[in-house]
Symmetry: C2
Subunit: 474 residues, 2 copies
């Protein structure tokens, strides 16, 4: 109960704007709160009486009382009957330091997994959004269930059955935010049901199943990709409860799982009561023949089929889907509801409209020759500048793998490329069993033909500094 | 290697449309796939040779070979050199039965937690979407980080600091899909860090923290809400690692946590190294005075502050936010990335635009008197028709609680109301320690004044059938 420090009133730094729209008591309140947070008003310090502060500021006492009361209610100030009002809160921590400067971006980025965002069909998407906002019934903006809106589930079932050879009934389609969420939901449900082990292709993506397995305490078993895909015998031995496959376009090596292996995988899953999570990630871009139908069509009872628009429209949309086997559907919908209460309604309705009006097909038809041409340029430039590199997985997708000639190590090439302003990834980081054959993953879909040519030339320049003697092309 | 059944060709049910856009080999392929799925072509059955089928259908042999090859690649057919092509897959399970008919919707639904979806500002939202799709740089449509887009994080920090008294720096703001996801991310991170126990208000919502605690094997401790909020002494005894609070408007009872309890909760959290999850769910609607500032402003180091647009714009948008203490921020961002790879970019940018242009403030200013008037009508009708009911939590929000007079049981009232076409919830289902005081939760925000009046009259009629003698109002 110390006497009021006479300099305190000055320290309050209250400047009133009498002509402004903000009421005077709010201005006082804001200034005091700021003073407390900044530490100018230290915890325990007494404030002037409301009468005295009102006189100092030339306002009515009620204005100060209102400001004090608000801050008392919020816990910044405390008052005891008969004593001064005191500061009850300490200063806040200093604002976080600004982020450190990012390293300079590479001039040319062969990073994988991009669509070309400049080709996102903005006008068509906006038309779908406008129709939704003009026409959707009000109740569509309310809380959602875990499956998603029926408009989109029906449109997707039709699309997938037609374009991907799935056997999807709308009641088994569930809207996700993409493959990452699909994997998160499936692993969570299976872990709760007692699953112990997940089998994945080796090599395969390292940013979804592997961290999810760690999160749920599941073991990960790698199935070597030999030739076009995994060996079902390795799966038999794996003792897995879930196998994650990219059967239509193995990531990153680009093979198509042969028919015999498909049926063997289905047989294994049925016999074991295991689940196949089919990641159908970029198969819309198959350049030299029709895409291979999804395994889900062969065995809707054993396959959870996952897809998204991340490789066709834009990853930023966060729109994907699962087609689920009966024994998983409700549990995954419950998990989705608990995780995020469903995907955004307007986005779902817009995508349904986009599908139904044929805009999706139109967009794919437009993009296929664009990406194919970029692939052709990449392959031509590789053949010209780096004839010792052996391209693989070129028939489809948005990237190719280039196997390195003997004597070159991925890490050295990646590092030398970075020094030449080129970002490119090696295959090795995606392997579970190392070392393996040395290769690069070259994403081309987001790069113009000129940039691709420039990038390959720079990559060749980088490789030439390594002093290895690339084997001449056969 | 049985001989071809001569009736099989007929069973194939292939009808070719020679004038259509679909290539003949695709038509054959589709018909065969459908036959296998339907079980008309049973597993193991031999197909006619490509030559014979081509003759039957009047097409070139290459067309049939292409169809067979596709289905072989997909695993529907199998061929062994020198033998016939056979069906390699079984029929699919029958389509799921249509959903059973839903029970008839109540005529009047006092269910809580709705905005009025008819009031969603569709035109303004569409303007924001149009600006985003016209102006956003292409890279905004690419993959996201776990925090969200800087445009929205900055706009939200400004809004929350101004309107909710938070102390939010954009670098600590993380975009979620709403409170449900915020709770899922926080509990997941804390469970991984060894948390054992979550304290919640009793009563409180039963659809987020409680199932999440079960998922992560955490214990839930109820803190009785007495008077305006929890008793900090109960929190001290709880041994909790996380406390979930609705301090500005307790759900469902409507109290404001008093200043002394706020500072005590903060002291407890700091001493224990525990986290306060502040659910600031509908405080924008406070009718009789300025909203109470968030606890987060008092202790940004100990509070994870969560909000969303579900009660202000529409739940279907699935847009929310967290303001995180430093020791949680990166871990929650990692968890968000693993869960769904970030919230949709276009929605984030649209909401940022909506905030920056003052549309959000405008919408709240427009809705406040609408909801206040509905509340006034509800209170007036309750006083008239059900004077023995004691309203509580009326100063703010989108619902009121009506305590029942002695002699009435919630369950009986809820059941009788349902028979009179009125849906209303009791308080009891949300209690951890039962029984407690008997009361109803009456959501009014989505109902017109006429519907509210009609609903209260029907509720009164329902109550009158129970034969209890409601205590007259004082």
């Amino acid at each position: 109960m110390s006497a009021v420090n006479s300099s305190l009133v000055h320290d309050l730094l209250i400047e009133l704007d009498r002509a402004g729209a903000v009421p005077l008591h709010r201005q006082i309140e804001t200034a005091l709160r700021a003073g407390i947070r900044a530490g100018r008003l230290r915890q325990g310090a007494s404030l002037p009486s409301s009468r005295r502060l009102a006189t100092e500021l030339g306002v009515s006492r009620g204005v100060v009382v209102e400001a004090y009361d608000q801050l008392i209610a919020e816990g910044y100030l405390a008052s005891t009957p008969g004593s001064y009002t005191r500061v009850a809160a300490g200063p806040e921590e200093p604002s976080p330091a600004p982020a450190p400067p990012q390293p300079a971006a590479p001039r040319i980025d062969f990073g994988y997994g991009r669509t070309d965002p400049a080709r996102f069909p903005r006008a068509a998407w906006l038309r779908s959004l406008r129709r939704v906002l003009t026409e959707a019934p009000h109740d569509r903006l309310n809380y959602l269930d875990g499956y998603g809106l029926p408009e989109l589930r029906t449109a997707l079932a039709d699309y997938l059955n037609r374009a991907r050879g799935t056997s999807a009934h709308p009641s088994r389609v569930l809207i996700t935010s993409g493959f990452g969420q699909a994997a998160a939901l499936i692993t969570s449900v299976l872990a709760q049901r007692g699953a112990r082990r997940i089998a994945v292709e080796d090599p395969s993506a390292d940013d979804d199943i592997r961290p999810l397995a760690r999160l749920h305490g599941l073991e990960v078993v790698g199935l070597p990709v030999t030739g076009e895909g995994i060996d079902p015998a390795a799966l038999e031995r794996s003792d897995a409860d879930l196998v994650v496959l990219t059967p239509s376009h193995q990531w990153p090596l680009g093979g198509v799982l042969p028919a015999r292996a498909r049926t063997a995988v289905v047989r294994w899953a049925r016999k074991r009561g295991a689940v196949i999570l089919e990641d159908d990630y970029d198969v819309e871009y198959r350049y030299d023949r029709a895409p291979i139908g999804a395994i889900q069509g062969l065995a809707p009872d054993a396959v959870a089929y996952a897809g998204s628009v991340s490789k066709t429209l834009a990853p930023g949309l966060r729109l994907g889907w699962l087609v689920l086997p009966p024994h998983l559907a409700d549990a995954v919908a419950d998990a989705k509801l608990l995780a995020d209460r469903g995907s955004p309604a307007i986005d779902q309705l817009a995508f349904a409209d986009f599908l139904l009006r044929g805009e999706f097909d139109r967009h794919l038809r437009r993009m296929r020759p664009v990406y194919r041409h970029r692939r052709d340029v990449l392959l031509a430039r590789l053949a010209e500048h780096l004839p010792g590199f052996e391209p693989a997985g070129i028939a489809a997708g948005l990237h190719v793998v280039a196997w390195l000639p003997d004597g070159l190590r991925e890490q050295e090439v990646v590092a030398a490329a970075a020094e030449h302003g080129v970002h490119v990834a090696g295959v090795e980081p995606y392997r579970l069993a190392r070392p393996g054959r040395q290769g690069l993953i070259l994403g081309y879909s987001h790069l113009s033909e000129n940039r691709i040519a420039e990038g390959v030339a720079a990559l060749a320049a980088a490789v030439s500094t390594l002093g290895a003697r690339p084997r001449p092309a056969a």
